[in-house]
Symmetry: C2
């Protein structure tokens, strides 16, 4: 096998642990210098490849790369940019191959969600067509936890932990205030289509620490009357309650409870602000004093409370991607395969990208309680191991020490390309 | 000195460390059983005293009381209930004395903010008038950091740390996304009148890790044109920016930028939702894609990222309150006195309540940069030590182990009293 360089890029919304995957890719590649030359990263994701804006990760020290494991966000920049079908957008795919050829790149590691898995698959298909060999490996990442085949997605466990911890803390707070003040606390969490993140709010309550929590899932059509009755009954019984609402909750008419009308580059509706909608419903109908929060980026960037399980899996999948490449694999994605719930055991497996691309994994209906407002024991058994363990970053003067890399540019060899 | 029982109550909005003060009070009282008999807590704050709804903290083990140090919220329940002037509300004050007398209470420890300091002072005055001796000691607590004389208030340092850490993390996130997606991230933080919490967002950026952050303080009248110009210039220079906006920001007309029209029991406007207002201004005028978050209770309940300095001071002031009582002091409040910034040194001092009650400490103008959008070095020197050190709670199965006490009721001796 001739020595080739590798290309790595981050795609879509970043997470608390996507850099841990980058760390796994780069550290593992550095251990195989006989087969993998340089590791180039795309500045701002795939756009960096298209515009030949490559970063030489070799300019960063082993210590800096190791610190990626503790640093949230996308160290090389990410982008929301979906390559369309091969026929519609042949120029872009050909440009990718041209850039890879110019920089002797034989390995394409793409770290993203469902859309990126699709791009990754197409790159490998085109490489075959054009006769320039590229091994395309997808490294899964998404806080939404909606990729198929893999038991879970790196990024999700840490958001889940943030949400579970925060809902527990806020519930304790509301309980203290409920006698004369706030009785209902509403927190909005991410999850455009799938309620995995909202479900994690249910973990805040367990047998050691029962808390009255109502969850609004995007999978369950919102019914105002049923919801208000649930809130009222819960407050009457416990004196207060917390409501965890997914940004993606829709009414029975199929419309988002709150839609700002803005769409992102993938054409997805850009949501936010369902918490105040729900909180005001409670106030208007029941008169309970409320508070509401919208976690937004705070939840997915919260490396300070990352799940150790999640960090380990993110790293392991980055490492596995390189190992799969070295084994000659192509158009695949390393995955987490669960071996047992209790004790939690997992191993790295492999999925074919053709089975991954453009498939969304929703919450199974039996993960949501019959009344639609909570999680079942089955869901709890699935979620609980994913938030296990803490993995604190290092601190200096009270603040986490997050690394910023040099991100040194690789000299260009080709002409300009407009994206 | 005849042996007397003690009464302890929590007042107003709770914090991540008010229970650390409770821990300091109870553990210290337990060490002086020759002088202090039982420690009774008011269930739901002062309402518990008025309605003779007392909790016997003696029913909880040393381990449970020690765990208070790691548990956010108010373990005995708090309340928003301000006793009015002695003349207007003599019945209530007399009732307090009656309850204290019935339960042989000689020490009144009141853990709250400015309103509670005022109540505490009045209790001591009335006790003198009615000839029933009560030593009233106020234990400071407020995330708003707006009490006078004390260098800082327990509760603030932990919110400040949460905000500084979260703004750093979210800024890293936005930086990754800015090329094709979000360029402006807006986070709303607490601080009704004083910008201390918003200022803490400025700590996210330091010489090791510079970040483009714009702060909107309640002390600076909001000027839309200047703000938009600042955002535009910052995005043009850095590619993105984070905006930290205090819930209490007012326009030049003196009106809150966002006022839900709801008022709490103290008559304070109940705010929330200024983040979307500001974010939409940016979108409408500049067209930048935005995200926004409202931290609300998540910030003040976030014991998982509490400041070690804050926890130590909260405990120390609870302990000092008991020690002051044992020395025969009355109508006082233990305070934090700063001895030096670097290295940070502090000691516990004492303030007379008559100098504390109903005085609000605002941010000095020279803590805010000339342009009104940032913090000065002087402010940084003040804030930096307060977020120093981590003090993680214990975890089980990925979640913090927060204690819930028995809160066993003390048998009543008096008739009913309506509040």
């Amino acid at each position: 096998m001739a020595k080739k360089n590798a290309f790595y890029a981050q795609s879509g919304g970043v997470t608390a642990v996507i850099n841990a995957s980058a760390c796994g890719v780069i550290e593992t590649a550095r251990k195989h210098k006989d087969k993998i030359g340089k590791v180039y990263a795309g500045r701002n994701g795939i756009i960096g490849a298209l515009t030949e804006d490559l970063i030489d990760t070799g300019k960063d020290s082993a210590a800096a790369i190791a610190a990626l494991r503790y640093t949230p966000s996308g160290a090389f920049g990410s982008c929301r940019f979906k390559l369309k079908g091969l026929e519609e957008n042949k120029l872009q795919y050909e440009r990718l191959i041209e850039v890879f050829k110019a920089h002797n790149i034989g390995y394409f590691f793409y770290n993203g969600g469902g859309d990126s898995a699709d791009t990754c698959l197409k790159v490998s298909q085109l490489s075959e067509k054009l006769g320039y060999p590229i091994q395309a490996i997808h490294v899964p990442k998404t806080v939404d936890n909606d990729l198929p085949i893999t038991d879970c997605c790196p990024g999700f466990g840490s958001v889940a932990k943030y949400v579970a911890v925060s809902v527990r803390e806020a519930s304790f707070d509301v309980a203290s205030m409920a006698k004369t003040s706030t009785k209902v606390f509403v927190v909005e969490v991410m999850g455009r289509h799938a309620g995995w993140i909202a479900a994690a709010g249910g973990l805040a309550s367990d047998k050691d620490c029962e808390l009255p929590i109502i969850i609004l899932f995007p999978e369950i059509a919102f019914n105002k009357e049923k919801f208000l009755a649930q809130v009222d009954a819960t407050v009457k019984k416990h004196g207060y309650c917390s409501v965890v609402v997914s940004e993606g909750v829709k009414g029975e008419d199929g419309k988002f409870l709150s839609d700002q009308g803005v769409r992102d580059a993938f054409g997805h509706a850009q949501l936010g602000g369902v918490a105040p909608v729900v909180a005001n419903m409670v106030k208007d109908a029941l008169g309970y004093k409320f508070h509401w929060a919208v976690a937004d980026y705070l939840q997915r960037a919260a490396r300070h409370i990352a799940s150790r399980t999640d960090v380990e899996q993110a790293y392991a999948l980055g490492k596995a991607a390189v190992e799969l490449a070295l084994k000659g694999e192509n158009a695949v994605m390393p995955i987490i395969a669960r071996l047992s719930d209790k004790p939690y055991k997992w191993k790295v497996g492999v999925a074919q990208l053709k089975h991954v691309a453009n498939v969304e994994k929703m919450m199974p209906r039996d993960f949501i309680s019959k009344d639609g407002f909570g999680i079942t024991d089955k869901c709890r058994a699935y979620l609980a191991p994913l938030i296990k363990g803490e993995d604190y970053p290092f601190y200096k003067d009270g603040l986490p020490k997050y690394v910023r890399l040099k991100n040194a540019a690789v000299p260009r060899k080709l002409g300009e390309f407009k994206v």
